[in-house]
């Protein structure tokens, strides 16, 4: 079963082409790393998958639906690259809001909020205002909200941004934990070592096109690292 699919998708902004006939299918339960240099179209691909924007050509399916349909986004956890959280809210209130939007109610919601706060190491900051948290802690709150509702698909855009080495290792464990629960994971990143450790498949985007995709072991040659392969693919 395919969790998400881009079929010959193009996206143009005026005369600039952000994506050119990109095709990518992510099977349910897999973990895919979307790699590419800055401006390659990774974030645009995620925005298309979430229905934030429509394609100029081709088709996008999320859980078999048009992403513009709210039903497609049921069971999706999303962590944006530029995470700006409402500073006036406490951590718990922010998570309550997103728990409610994810369909959690009452005691179930509070229990799950406690769980994700415990998991992401922010349980002792539940009452703190978001404006009082460091960048690293905010990223942990971002992960916590993405995990609410036990998502079946995680879309993570540069997930380790702002995290210290301990946080990076924790994030790796959280993603591994989600995969063990059967969650599909799509990670957009240009930190190759992270993708190498968390994903079993990769797709490399360059100038709006997929230049390579498939299982990590197939894309990366026997005598090269992922970094070598990445540079080979984007430099041609």
């Amino acid at each position: 079963m395919v969790a998400l699919e881009l079929a010959a998708v193009s996206k143009r902004y005026g005369s600039r082409t952000a994506l050119a006939e990109v095709s990518l299918a992510v099977p349910a339960g897999s973990s895919v790393g979307l790699l590419g240099p800055n401006g390659a179209g990774k974030t645009t691909a995620l925005r298309l998958l979430l229905g934030f924007t429509g394609p100029s050509g081709g088709g996008v399916l999320l859980h078999g639906h048009d992403p513009m349909d709210p039903a497609a986004r049921e069971g999706v956890g999303y962590l944006p690259e530029r995470l700006v959280l409402p500073g006036r809210m406490s951590v718990r209130r922010f998570l309550r809001l997103h728990g409610s939007l994810a369909g959690l109610t009452g005691a179930d919601r509070d229990h799950e909020i406690d769980e994700v706060m415990e998991l992401t190491g922010i349980a002792d900051r539940a009452r703190d205002r978001l404006s009082a948290l460091s960048k690293g802690l905010l990223q942990r709150v971002g992960f916590a909200q993405a995990f609410l509702g036990k998502p079946r698909l995680l879309l993570l855009d540069e997930p380790t941004s702002g995290l210290d080495p301990i946080g990076i290792r924790d994030a790796r464990d959280w993603i591994a934990g989600a995969r063990e629960r059967g969650c599909t994971v799509l990670v957009s990143s240009h930190i190759l070592s992270e993708v190498e450790r968390t994903c079993d498949q990769i797709a490399v985007l360059h100038e709006g096109r997929v230049v390579a995709s498939g299982p990590l072991v197939q894309v990366v040659g026997a005598d090269e690292s992922l970094e070598d392969a990445f540079i080979r693919l984007v430099r041609g």
Partner: protein, 269 residues
Amino acid sequence: MRPSALTQFRTLASEAILDAVRRRIIAAIAVVSLLSLMLVDTCTTCSGGEVVVNGQVRQIAAIAGWTGAVTYAVLGLWSIVLAGVLASEHLAQTLADGSATLALARPVGRGTFAFARLAGSLVIALATGAVLLGGTALFLSARSGLPMRPALMAGVSCAVGAVTLAALAMTASLYLPRIATVMLVFVATGAVTLANLLGMFRDDSGGAMGAIDRFGPPLCTSIALALSPWIDEVRVPGSPLEIAIRHGVWALASIVLLWAVFRRVELRD
């Protein structure tokens, strides 16, 4: 399980109301509203005596309907403008700070989100309008003996006008910077009010102003129509039913426009 659109609307609208309450402009609105009410209180205490109008000596009590209607209409239009000003940032801000994208990554419809933001700004504007207009109506009724029913009808008319202007301002804010949207709110309300006044006091109101008066949202006309039992001399053009329908259609069309435009807006995080 996906929550119902109504549950999501309630959740998002509650947040939108809290967001509106926290805005710095609210303190200024509260002060201006309080001062306005104090001014109305002072003005309405003077119910006896005589004044000279166009060289004619008249009893103050005899012109209470006029002064009451003008005061009420000005405060009503202020409440409508307030709704537009509050709405001019209430949705656009969530796009700028990324909170819209986080919410819309959930199974939340664009319409649900936009309507919740609209409701958030309207609750504050309508509450302010209710206090202002309700207080004014009570003063006018108790001190000048003006009936309450016209004031109630005019209040409902202001609420419909507030919905129209807020939805249009919110739609414009998706394309314009805030200051331009606020300017547009003032200019549009001013133009419609002027066109409505020309329509009421001149027989040959034509051109652009005539078109605005005949086809635009009857912001001022509908208030004047509701308050007409207080004032005998004013002739409101058009049938009351036509004005009421046009008022309602503008409010509904503005909401539909907001929904249709927001559905197509590109969200960036």
